[in-house]
Amino acid sequence: MRKLLQFLHQYNYWFLFIILEVTSFILIFKYNNYQHSVYLTSANTATGKMYEWKSTVTSYFHLKSINEDLLDRNIELEKKIANLQATIREEYSLEEDHRLLDDVVTSKYKFFKAHVVQNSLNSANNFITLDKGSLDGIRPEMGVIDGNGVVGIVYKTSPHYSWVMSLLNTKSNISCKIAGNNYFGNLTWEYGDVGYAYLRDLPRHATFSLGDTIVTSGFSAIFPEGILVGTIDDMSDIDDGFSFYLKVKLSVDFGKLDGVRVIENEDLMERKQLGED
């Protein structure tokens, strides 16, 4: 303690010197704009640098929580993208429908929008369940299409659901023709490959080439004329020698069926009655 006091006494002029200089510099930085601004700028640079160093260190501590936040955000965005894509697809398929139907539609056809709630591919007689039923105006023997082409025919309806005989059903039989000329035949499906169906009873003198488009003929009145079914993939003769047997690549992907349109033909009953008479 004594030594400390002695030390303080011996070097007291140092303390006075430092006090006076510090006072002077405080005055300098406080009352002189230029020095003040230089001080502020360099002080800001220094503190900024320090904060930068600090953040480079501390940023690692938060990586885990940031990562989790990012994951959450990612999931959210993925959901949004899926929703948007679904919306776009719906709009797009609607447009496609219109384009497809614009060519063929006349006032006698009405369209109902419906969604597939159940679908099968692996049985010999595949059926599709739609979320619209008789209360929505769906009746048996209405045609069902989606953005890419023919899907099937309504087989039975309940008040809120309808049961559609898919094109992929050995009992389905749709009258089709080759687009561009009017040679027609019956489209059937054979158990096996869900991407292909077969067009029978096409006259031998019909002219076509592989890749030609197969559309509905309109004879059955279930489908309007000219709705896309698929393209000719392969051809062979039938045993009786009177007709061709065409392998048709279906344009509809039955594996991802969702939004479909049900077609009502207002003349159908009239035509049926005429047939019965």
């Binding site: 002029y13 006075l16 010197f17 006076l20 006072t23 002077s24 002189n32």
Partner: protein, 168 residues
Amino acid sequence: MAARYINYILWFFGLLIVQVLLLNNVLVFGYATPYLYIYLLFFMDSSLVSRNQLMVWAFFLGLGVDIGSNTLGMNAAAAVLLAFSRPMLISMFCQVNDDANNFRPSIRNMGVAGYLKYLSLGVLIHHIALLSIEFFKISSLSMLSLRIIGSAILTTICIFAIERIRNN
């Protein structure tokens, strides 16, 4: 003793007024300004004014000049530095047997050469401190050194002349 103090106080205000009203407006060759006011710190008697007292004198003298020239703190800081280093300067350039704490620096006591060294080094210390603070950036180093050297020469000549006259 009281007379000496009064003498110092008169010098204090006289130098202050001359510095603020006259010499601050002088700019020889665009570089040199005489800072005559520090003369007081060179001739004060160590036996009368201790090192600490000298620093306080220097502080208020510098502050007075600062107030007059709107450079608050700059002259005070430089003058305090000069007062702080004065005992070292005296012991460097004075071979007298007297203790440095009991001494009045003058041409008579130190000889012309000794006094000139003492004076010029002290002036240089003060000017380096003052002008560095005033410029406050390294980029204008050549201009800064020109101003320091020019002002130091001018101040040294002025103080030496006055000291010479007073001693005759």
